[in-house]
């Protein structure tokens, strides 16, 4: 059953379009993540969906009824949803009162409020904090109070805008644990905006990629991260090797793509002469020094032009007629003695190359 649907939703600020033709269907009980770079329009979209703002064009349907411009029922419908904003605000009152205010505004009884607040504070691990002034809490604790305040009313639909932005890793992990519980145990329908892709991957059933105000792809986390349908999505989800070429040979589904006078082999159902992009994730590239027999269909010899450490990993950029980026562990790089200028052989399996059509 579809709980929330948008049809050609559009919005603009000062005549500058910020959202264009957004068509979304959120199913009941689903966890949907909206990912996209900062400024893509994620917060604007959530505000429209939560009926905080009115869209310039298009329609919003909640539980089958159009609610886009509803004035009278707006608050009633909003009371069936909850919204945790990117920079959560707590009121200068106790943690208990902050969490209870949504229930109070809905006319919930004193006893029921007390028991619901107690339960939700336990859920977010803040059971001991009831009497604390909410303004004295840390960023992570404040975020959990905001989540508790949103959950205590048992919303049918929960919107989360960057729920762990600006939090340290421990607080992030705590917040994610709470959200995972809410998704799995409570089966609450969630729409979550995040630029933290692994988080979207961990928590969401489906992901929508919003770039420059447009939804460019919707799919399962696996589809989004492994099978992006266009270069913008590919770039955003971290496919850093985007090689433009033309299919010059095809043997069953094994295609040979000519890229800058070099060839890349991949599994694809595109035809000879099709202009395509070959997408290779940096983590799918392996490096060797000497010529060796390998099952990898793609082996490119080139000179290392850049080495940059990233935590326990090293990003290695090789010039093999086109720039190719690979990521390996620091230990492997040390054992191979890789330096800028070293000639290496970078290889990848044909199945690790994802091919998308180029329309240019």
């Amino acid at each position: 059953m579809i709980l929330l649907e948008t049809l050609n939703l559009g919005h603009e600020f000062d005549r500058r379009p910020v959202l264009k033709d957004i068509n979304l269907k959120i199913n009941l009980g689903e966890a949907f993540a909206l990912i996209g770079p900062t400024g893509a329009g994620k917060t604007t979209l959530l505000r429209l969906l939560d009926l905080l703002d009115t869209p310039k064009s298009g329609s919003i349907y909640f539980a089958g009824s159009e609610v886009t411009h509803s004035r009278r029922e707006r608050n009633e419908i909003r009371r069936r949803m909850s919204f945790v904003q990117q920079r959560p605000i707590v009121f200068s009152m106790s943690v208990y009162d902050n969490v209870a205010c949504g229930l109070k505004w809905r006319g919930e009884g004193h006893e029921a409020t007390r028991s619901k607040v107690r339960n939700v504070l336990e859920l977010v691990n803040l059971a001991e904090y009831g009497k604390r002034n909410a303004k004295t809490l840390s960023g992570g604790e404040t975020q959990r109070v905001a989540i508790a305040r949103a959950l205590v009313t048992k919303p049918e639909l929960l919107f989360l805008d960057e729920p762990t932005a600006n939090l340290d890793p421990i607080s992030t992990s705590r917040v994610e644990q709470v959200l995972a519980h809410v998704i799995k145990e409570r089966k609450t329908t969630i729409v979550m905006a995040t630029h933290n892709m692994p988080q979207g991957q961990r928590l969401a059933d489906r992901i929508g990629v919003l770039i420059n105000g447009q939804i460019l792809q919707i799919g399962s986390p696996n589809e989004i991260f492994c099978l992006p349908t266009n270069t913008e999505v590919a770039e955003f989800v971290g496919v850093e090797n985007i090689l433009e070429g033309i299919i010059v040979e095809k043997d069953d589904d094994l295609v040979t793509i000519e890229v800058n006078n070099r060839t890349v082999q991949a599994v694809s159902d595109y035809e000879i002469s099709d202009s395509v992009y070959a997408l290779i994730r940096p983590e799918d590239i392996t490096f060797t020094l000497a010529k060796a027999k390998t099952s990898a269909r793609n082996v490119f010899e080139g000179k290392i032009i850049k080495i940059a450490p990233v935590g326990p990993l090293v990003r290695i950029e090789v010039d093999c007629g086109f720039p190719l980026l690979g990521v390996i562990t620091k230990k492997s790089a040390e054992e191979l003695g890789l330096r800028v200028g070293t000639i290496v052989r970078a290889s990848s399996k044909a199945t690790a190359v994802h091919v998308i059509r180029s329309w240019t």
Binding site: D50, R78, I89, G102, W105, T153
Partner: protein
């Protein structure tokens, strides 16, 4: 210098011995100023919220106008109130001139711009996100407005205290519309003014000490509130 010192000692004696006239004037002064502050608060809180939460043409100009009236001379307000409530004025039939009631009305007019302007500033000081958070949590517009007022409460208390301070310390208005009638409309400021001109500095000093003490309490409360 000796005369002033002796006057000061006698004034302390008047206060300590709970002199009936000193007590009466002090009580009347407090009653009039507290009443005018309470009435001004009842007017300015909803009006300030209305102005803050609604966008309309000329809002900025209206706020500028309100701020201009912060420093309106007390005698100017006194003159307007006098003309309105004098026998030939539009509200002369109420026969309120030279009564404590008209002093309250005058003070309400005097301090309302200050309280109104500072209430608007206090609400503006509360993050817009607080209002939106309340709305997103299911509050009605009225409930969300209430929470914003609650969030800005310390700045609003400051506004009320400043208004009270202006009301209790003004002399021109009280003299013009109250008439400084002994036992009826005489307040601390008018009494100090009159007794000093008569040469009775003992009562003036006693009332002055009380007035300064009230000012000190107001200032102390204000700085405590501003620290929150």
């Amino acid at each position: 210098m000796t005369a002033i010192w002796q006057g000061f000692l006698k004034a302390i004696e008047l206060i300590v011995s709970l002199n009936p006239e000193v007590l009466q004037i002090t009580a009347r002064t407090l009653a009039i100023s507290i009443s005018s502050t309470a009435i001004a608060a009842l007017i300015c809180l909803p009006l300030g919220s209305l102005i803050h939460f609604n966008n309309f043409h000329g809002k900025r100009t209206l706020i500028n106008l309100i701020q201009t009236f912060y420093s309106v001379p007390t005698v100017a307000v006194g003159l307007v109130v006098f003309l309105i409530f004098s026998r030939s004025g539009p509200l002369g039939f109420l026969e309120l001139l030279f009564t404590p009631q008209v002093m309250v009305i005058g003070q309400v007019i005097l301090i309302s711009p200050i309280i109104l302007g500072l209430v608007i500033a206090a609400l503006r000081g509360v993050e817009q996100a607080a209002y939106e958070t309340a709305i997103a949590t299911g509050a009605s517009q009225f409930q969300a407005t209430t929470i914003v007022i609650r969030e800005g409460r310390y700045a609003i208390y400051s506004a009320l205290i400043l208004g009270f301070g202006r009301a209790i310390s003004e002399v021109g208005l009280a003299l013009m519309v109250g008439g400084n009638i002994r036992g009826y409309t005489r307040v601390m400021t008018t009494a100090i003014s009159l007794e000093t001109s008569k040469g009775d500095i003992v009562l003036s000093i006693a009332l002055g000490i009380i007035l300064i003490s009230i000012a000190l309490v107001i200032n102390f409360s204000l700085s405590r509130l501003q620290q929150r």
